[in-house]
Structure formats: C-alpha cells, structure tokens
C-alpha cells in the first residue's frame, strides 16, 4: 500500500514539474518532455490498435528464447570451465572480460552475420547473457562446501551421483541468483538488439517514437520495459529464490 501511494506521489510530482516547466514557464520544449497524461494517451492509442500488446509479446518471446539458449550455452561453458583446470586458468579470465562487454557491441557482428532478422537479435541476447551465466555456474559449484562432497563420497557416491544429488542441490541458491542476473542481462541485450533492427518489438516501438518525435511513446515503452523486467524478476526468480532459502532455513522469518 505504501508503495502505491509513493507511486501516486511520484506521478503527481512529475505532472506538476511538467505543468510548471513546460506550460507555465516554457523552460522546456513540449516535444522533449513527456507527461503522465501524454504517456497515458499514448498508452491508450497503442493499446487500441494492439501494437503495444504485440510488441510486448514479441519481445518477451524473443527474450525468453534467447535466454533459454544463453542458459544452455552458459551452463555447458560454466561446467567445462569448472571441470578443466586448463580452461579455468586460461579461458575464464577471457570469459570474465567478455562478460563486461556491453551487449550493444555485438550488434555489428550480428547484423553482418544474420542480417536484420530475429536471429540477429537472439545472437545479441545470447552474447549478452551466456558469459555471465557461465561465470556464475562456475562460481556456484566452487562455493559448494567441501564437507558435502566428502560426506557423499564416503557414502559411496559416484561422480554422476555427486553432481546430481549433491553439487546441483547444494549450489541451487547461488545458481538461481546467477540465472536471475543472466535474465536481466538478456533483457537489456534484447533491447540493444531490437533498437537496431526493424522487426516488431518494444525496442522498435521505442525507436518509432523517436522517429515520430513522440517523446510520450518513448517514455511509455521505457516504462513497459521496466515493468516487464520487474514482473519476471518478482514472479519467477525472487519467488524461486525465497522458496529455496526458506526450505533450508536460510531466511529470517516469513
């Protein structure tokens, strides 16, 4: 409830600033400054022709498929780095380096290799998220307490059983945190990819707003991007995290 009130105050303050700065004093140009009312109008308009819904659905679908591919690649890469001392020493620093590369840097490559297609966008998403996932998989396995491994081995665990029944559940909390971070990287990379290409999606709707000099549409799309990011985080990753931690008695209360 408190948060809702805060949002109302924020929107009111925004509208107030707009009213004073644009309408009253003329400090800012109306085409450069969005207003809550303008964003709401833009929202209604884009909802009416279904464009906003279509764009959000497209982006989500792309984001999720790119993320799934990134998880698969990231987990395999992370396991390889974890298993091989050679890769740990030589490849990991490189992966760490690539991880810091902003995903927009992959756009030129993706366009050259895949054209202005969905694959090009997926490529950017995968590049944006896979390396961070690989690093977190490696770290999660490394942080498994040695006592668990020792206990399992003296209870007769084979290598396969050790990974399946001990290492995987033991590193689950950290793994979910890594996956969550991977998703936020994927979602950001998706926008970088969509802005550059021409297929329908939130990134494209945002650029369209710019081309039409419709700052309210730009603002609206930004809000939708944030909202989708929050919803996925809260509804999937945070709930999973909470459940796992609670089951192990690692949270205080509730």
């Amino acid at each position: 409830m408190g948060f809702l009130l805060f949002l109302v105050i924020l929107v009111a303050a925004w509208q107030g600033c707009y009213w004073i700065g644009v309408d009253l004093l003329g400090l800012w140009k109306p085409y450069a400054m969005p207003s809550p009312v303008g964003v709401a109008q833009s929202f209604l308009q884009l909802c009416e022709d279904g464009e906003l819904f279509q764009a959000t659905a497209n982006s989500l679908l792309r984001g999720i498929s790119g993320y799934v591919i990134a998880v698969i690649i990231g987990v395999i890469l992370g396991l390889l780095i974890n298993r091989s001392r050679y890769l740990q020493k030589n490849l990991k620093p490189l992966v760490l380096g690539i991880q810091t590369l902003p995903s927009v840097c992959w756009v030129p490559f993706s366009i050259l290799w895949f054209g202005l297609s969905t694959q090009a966008i997926l490529f950017v998403v995968v590049m944006g998220a896979a390396f961070s996932i690989a690093i977190s998989v490696d770290n999660a396995i490394k942080n498994v307490q040695p006592i668990y491994t020792k206990a399992a081995l003296t209870l007769g665990a084979t290598k396969k059983q050790l990974y399946l029944y001990v290492i995987l559940p033991a590193c689950l909390p950290e793994l979910v945190t890594g996956m969550k971070q991977g998703w936020s990287f994927a979602w950001r990379a998706l926008m970088a990819g969509e802005v550059m290409t021409t297929s329908i999606g939130l990134g494209q709707t945002l650029i369209m707003g710019r081309d039409l000099a419709d700052i309210n549409q730009v603002m609206l799309v930004m809000l939708v991007i944030v909202l989708v990011g929050i919803i996925i985080d809260k509804c999937i990753f945070s709930i999973a995290e909470q459940r796992i931690l609670k089951k192990r008695g690692l949270t205080g209360g509730n």
């Binding site: 006592i147 668990y148 020792k150 206990a151 399992a152 081995l153 003296t154 209870l155 007769g156 665990a157 084979t158 059983q161 029944y165 001990v166 559940p169 033991a170 689950l172 089951k247 192990r248 008695g249 690692l250």
Partner: protein, 247 residues
C-alpha cells in the same frame, strides 16, 4: 573384516617432516579403536587416509587385503561438522547413502526406521535439518552412517563441536549402539575421557615423531562409568602419556 595400516607415512607438501611416520595398526572385526593425541598430531590425517580422502606418501591401508585408493561406502565417515544435506529432511538424509546404492524403497524405509529409532529420532524424521538441534544433527549423521553397515565406521571427533552435556549423552548412546550392533569403529578424539569411555583399545599418537606412542587396551567392563576409580586411574595414565608427547 580386517583393517591394516602398514608403514603409513604422510608428509604434506609444505612440511619438513612427516605428519604421520610409519604407522602400523590393525583393527579387528567388531573392535572399537580410539585414536587420541594432542592437537596437530595427525589424528584427522590418519582418518582421512583410511577414508581414502587423502593419499599416503608411503605405506598403505588394507581393508580385507585390498589396498585403499579412494573413498567408499565400506568406510563411511561421520564428521565433526555433521555434513548433512540441508535440502533434505532428517529421514531423507538417513536414506541418502542407501539411495545412492540403489537399495529398494521399502528396504530404505525399513532400515531408516530401524536406525532412526535406534538414535531416538523417529519422531523427528520429517523435520528439516535446520530445525533440529546440534545433538540431533549428529544423531542423524550417526544413523546415516549406520545404515551403510560399513565394514568399518570412521568417526572424526563427532561430538567435539557439541556442548558437554549433549556430547556426554551422545557417547552413552554410541556405547549402547555399539554394544547392540558390534559395528567396527575407528574413532578420533582429543578427549582421553571419551576414548577410555568408548574404546577397546586406545592408540596414542605422538605429535613429535608422528608415530604411535602407545597402545592401551581398555579392559573395563561396559557400561563404563567415568567416576569409577579404575576409569579415573586409566584416564590419568593415558592423559600423562598424551601430555608427555605434546610439544
């Protein structure tokens, strides 16, 4: 069952001398052997070598004539920090080793019940690990080890992280369980009292030489009482030995 340690040596990479030096020891079937020594004498290293968690620099450990090269369920270890899995309940932890070995579900249930009752934890079977006390955790770990019915059960100071009262209660229970099961046990402890209370034989390790300083056979009748004069006398004698060997 026969467990034989033959000229066992262990030297760590960063060390000038052997932590363990030419240890010879034989543990007989059904015997309860305690290893005591001042801290740093290599007690835990010895246990890790038998468990197969570490490799000896020289010499070997033979179980039923076969040299030990790695960890296995015929030498289950009970650790100081329980080593239970926090994502499993008490009963699931107890069944874990049997699950790995592919024991049928019914038999898992049956054995888990048997051993959980033995350690008085049957009522707590569905509790998550984080909701039971330290003593209960160690009892869960004990039940888990017992289900393996290992040739020899290795125990690495299993009660030393507990408070005195709980630790005393647990060693009473362990004595009772050992008398019931006649499980062969190799037990590491820094407490001479604990060793005299539990063991058939007490092996004193010397931190100076890394060798066995003395082996004392405890002939006191079970159940033993720590205030009995013979107990106190023997405890004192071994304690002097341990102190004498300490640096």
């Amino acid at each position: 069952m026969s467990l034989i340690l033959q000229g066992l040596c262990k030297r760590f990479d960063n060390s000038e001398k052997d932590t363990l030096h030419e240890i010879d020891l034989e543990v007989k079937s059904g015997e309860f052997v305690c290893i005591v020594g001042a801290s740093g004498c290599g007690k835990s290293t010895l246990l890790n070598l038998v468990a197969g968690l570490e490799r000896p620099t020289d010499g070997k450990v033979l179980l039923d004539g076969k040299e030990i090269t790695g960890p296995g369920s015929d030498r289950t270890v009970m650790f100081q920090e329980h080593g239970l899995f926090p994502w499993l309940s008490v009963a699931e932890n107890v069944k874990f080793g049997m699950k790995l070995a592919g024991v049928s579900k019914e038999q898992q249930e049956q054995k888990a019940k048997h051993y959980l009752e033995m350690v008085n934890l049957w009522d707590y079977r569905d509790y998550p690990i984080h909701q039971v006390s330290g003593g209960m955790r160690q009892r869960t770990a004990l039940a888990r080890s017992l289900t393996m019915e290992s040739k020899v059960l290795l125990m690495d100071e299993p009660f030393s992280a507990l408070d005195k009262q709980t630790s005393n209660r647990l060693r009473e229970e362990l004595q009772r369980i050992w008398m019931e099961t006649k499980q062969t046990i190799l037990f590491i402890t820094h407490s001479v009292e604990e060793a005299v209370y539990l063991a058939d034989r007490v092996v004193v390790l010397s931190p100076n030489t890394g060798k066995v300083a003395e082996v004392v056979t405890v002939e006191l009748k079970r159940p033993r009482h720590v205030y009995a004069p013979e107990f106190v006398e023997l405890r004192h004698k071994i304690l002097e030995e341990v102190r004498g060997e300490a640096v």
